[in-house]
Structures are given as structure tokens and as C-alpha cells.
Symmetry: C2
Subunit: 317 residues, 2 copies
Amino acid sequence: MKKYYIGVDVGGTSAKFGLYAEQGSEGNVEQKWSVPTTGKDASDVLLGKLADSIKEKCVEYNIDMSQVAGVGIGIPGPVDDKGVVLNCANLNFGIVPVKDIMKKLTGVDNVAVGNDANVAALGEMWKGGARGYTDIVMVTLGTGVGGGIVVDGKIHVGSAGAAAEIGHITVEPNETESCGCGCHGCLEQYASATGVVRLAKKEINDHPESVLFSKGDSLSAKDIFDAAKSGDEYACKIVERSVRYLGIALSNIASVCDPQLFLIGGGVAAAGNIIIEGAKKYYDEYSLKALKNKEIVLAELGNDAGMLGCIRLAGAE
Amino acid sequence: MKKYYIGVDVGGTSAKFGLYAEQGSEGNVEQKWSVPTTGKDASDVLLGKLADSIKEKCVEYNIDMSQVAGVGIGIPGPVDDKGVVLNCANLNFGIVPVKDIMKKLTGVDNVAVGNDANVAALGEMWKGGARGYTDIVMVTLGTGVGGGIVVDGKIHVGSAGAAAEIGHITVEPNETESCGCGCHGCLEQYASATGVVRLAKKEINDHPESVLFSKGDSLSAKDIFDAAKSGDEYACKIVERSVRYLGIALSNIASVCDPQLFLIGGGVAAAGNIIIEGAKKYYDEYSLKALKNKEIVLAELGNDAGMLGCIRLAGAE
């Protein structure tokens, strides 16, 4: 009988599902779907919705629940090694034993729960830009900066479920503006979409010659990277600042855990090589000889990384 | 028949040996000795010396080599997960398969090799300041700054044997002076014995009122911490700078690997609470909420940490 795994990447606006059929050594995502989330539902309401959707789809696709070998769930907040979510602002969750609740709601015994950025790293290692590696760090440059660390093929969760909080590595101890977390000088203040825009806005009034000057409040990270690629001097300066701090953060990560490879993903990473080349340059400038010249590559799976990582987390091979 | 483990912590001036007898669940270091090293011997000469010393002492203590269940060796340089040393400036080693060579030279089949700072962390977890923990980071503040990371009870080696290079985390990207490694702004430039003295010397001529002023070239890290404890204003300012960067580095480490506890060891740590309290203050200032308030404690085993960690690395329980 065919064996299935279901991955659910839960976000503040939607939960992305993937149905994966394992057949011998060849696997395949047979179906994808999503359900809207509000970010405000009580945890039992949201988890009930997810379980209902799994059960409905199994009926629709003629899959008996006994064929579901595992369910993996990604949550945008810290998750401990027992599958308990420890406060998740994006979902309005306090301390919620997601693993146990989902076991009961689905009747599936094998439920695994992980942080969304961590499972995305696992997904990229399984099917994406880090295939063939076992020790990787993924950095997701989006509205904020997230991260995932995989050591020896397994997600490194950390003692408080807060490992790989890459966005909050201090890269500029003399920063005077506050990060969203309340600290000063976090990577997120320079390398997230919001951070790059913040950097550009600070001195934009001194640069009427820049194409960014006329953008006003609509200025986006994409505008800045596009302008830099076209040679706009001020945009180049801003990008250089941003990738310098990214390179420093990667170097600091390497000094701690010495991975085989870094993956850069998230919306900002759509800018592509301008980020990779800049990060490499500053990574090497700030790294110990034994750590220099590590591979830094773009993530490949986009929005599917988390869902695929959830499937892998549940045990698919 | 009694089972023994032998630990050898190799340094540039001496190798420290410990003979450990495992009897039921109670273990004991029965003998300690050391042999001088030059830091210049060819690797086969040095390793030959170590093996000879092990064999001589076993004869002296009436131990048959078949009773030696394991030999653990700590090396002051990067070591990969196969027990190969990858260049070690302190011992003048290139790439040396220490594990295989020592197996041949001693006839003991179970030889384990690790980086000295890593095995010291393991030693502290086994018998010292981190007893009862499984996920710790040890930072050694000596002439330089070293580190060891233990995850789930095992040393985290890293893909190039260069994990836990804590001393070379960038904490001040705007530093203009160079670290010994050639980079700028490494923790070692602020928190090592050399680093604290460097900080103090920079502005000492503007502070004739300080007790440090008259020390001249003999100024030591101990002088600075002692003066700070006595309330010398300039010394306090220097210590504050040093522990601020230490706290930032610990915070960055936590953002990557989220350990249960930090241990601070090495000669500089003899200054005691002034370092712990300062590091805690700045650690919390620069850390994400989920990571704040971690335990930061002094290491307890002093110079024996490495030797004990080697015994543990070899498999003693």
C-alpha cells in the first residue's frame, strides 16, 4: 500500500500543504494546497482547521488515514525538541503542545513540529540548493531575517528552541536605532527588506541624483537592488553596506558552527548574485583562514522549502 | 581486570597526562604527569615521545597495555572528525593523522583526538562547572581566546574542524587595528589578556591619575582587573569595554546555537565575578528575549579541564 507524508508550513496568512508519496527511493509531491490563516485564531481553532484540511484532502484523494506515515508541521516561532511551540507572536500562540494536539486531531501517530526557518533549511538540504550536504546554514532575507541550522542532517533546535536566530546576531554594536526586538545593531536592521530600505532612507535627502530619490515612501528593497544593478551610485553604497553586514554575520556563524555551506533565501535574495558576491567578499574579509572560501549559494525552492522540509521532518526519505 | 583511560592534553610547552581508572560507576584520576614539548619537534618525534611516556608509565604502574581501554589526545589546532590534525601552528604540525599514528605507536585501538579547547569544554561538562548539562559553550580567555561547543553531549567539530573559533567572532566591524589572524574587530582583540592590555595601553597617556599609568611595559591583564576592583576609574572603563565585547560575542553565539550555559575559563577568568557580571549585563542587553538570562559561570577545572576532557573523549564514563 502506498505510504504518504503530509507537510504543513503554517504562516500568519496561510498554511501551505504538500502531500508526498513515498515509493521505493523515488518520492514525489503529488498534491499541494493551502488554507487561509488569520494569525489571530486561538491555537485549537487553527490546529483544528489544519487537521480538518488534512482529513478532507485524504478523503478527496482516496487515501486512508492509516496510509499517512507522518505529518510535519512548520511554525513561525520557537519550537522545542518535544514539539511544543514556545510563544509565537505571528500566530498568537502561547505555549502550545502542537505535536500532541495534532496527533490527537489527525489520529496520525508520527507528527513532527519544527520552526519554519529551520524546516526550510531542511527542505533545501533535501530537495534544493544544499542537496548532498549534511551541515548547512540557511539565512532567509525577507521582511525580517530568519535562519535555520542543520547539523549532521538534523535541525539544530537549541536549548530554548531559539537556535539560528540569525537575524538577531549583533553586527554593529554602535547602532543607535532599535531593532524590532528592542536591541541595537542586529543583522535584521541591515539585511532584511525593511532594513535595506531603512538604510537607504536615512541619507536619501543628500542624494537627489539617485533614482531612489523620487521613490518617496514607496521605496522598496527591490528598487534599491535594481538601481544598484543599473549602476546608481547611492544604491550601490547602500547595497554594499547591507551585504557587508550579511558577510560579517555569516563569518560569525562560521566561527561558531563551521558549516559546509550557506544558503541565502527569502524575497530579498531574489536580487541574486549581487547579494551572493557581496556576502562572499565580506565573509572572506572577516573570516579566519581555516574558514574562508565557504560556499555561499542561493536557495532554490522558494516558498516550497518549508513545506518540503516539513515532509522531510516527518521522516520521508 | 581494572580498565584504564589515558588523557593527553598537548600544548606548545608541555603535554599533560592523566591516568584514569574506571571501576563501576566511580572513576578516578590515579596519576598525573607531564612531559616537556618544544612546539618545534617534527610530528612523528613528538607523537613518539607521547607514546613512549604512556608505555613507560604503564610499566611503572604495573598496567598491561591491554587494560588501556582508550587514549584521548587534545591538540591546540583544528582536528577533523577522523582524528586528523589540520595544521597546528603551536606544534608546527601540517596535516597529521594523529589518531592513526597514535594507534600504531601505542597499540591501543581506541584513540580519540580533539581540539584542546573543545576537549576542555567536554572536561568541564563531565567533571567541572557544567556538570549535568548537555549543551554548553566554553570560552577560554587566555593569551588568545579559544572556545569549545558541546551539543547533546558531543563536541561540535565543524566541517573544517574549525567550529568554536570564538576568539575570531567579529564584535567591532569598525576596528582599525589588526588581530593576529589578520582580520579586524575579533573578540580576541578585546577579551584576551593581550587584548585587555592593548585596550588599556591605547589611552594610558591620557590617564596619569590611574594606577596603571606607572606600570609601563609590564602592564598585565591582572593589573587592570585588580585596579578595576579597587575602583580605579580608567581600569574600570577598560574592563567595561572588554566585557561588553565578551557579552556581545556570547549573545552572537547564543543566536546561532542557543546553549544551556556558558562557561568562562582561562587565565583572564581568574579575575572572577567582575567578568561574569559584566558579561551577563551586556549579554542580556544584546540578546533576543527568548535567549536572555542564560547561565554564565566560571569554569572550575583550571589546567586539568583539557586532560579530563581527553579521558572523556576516549570513552570514560
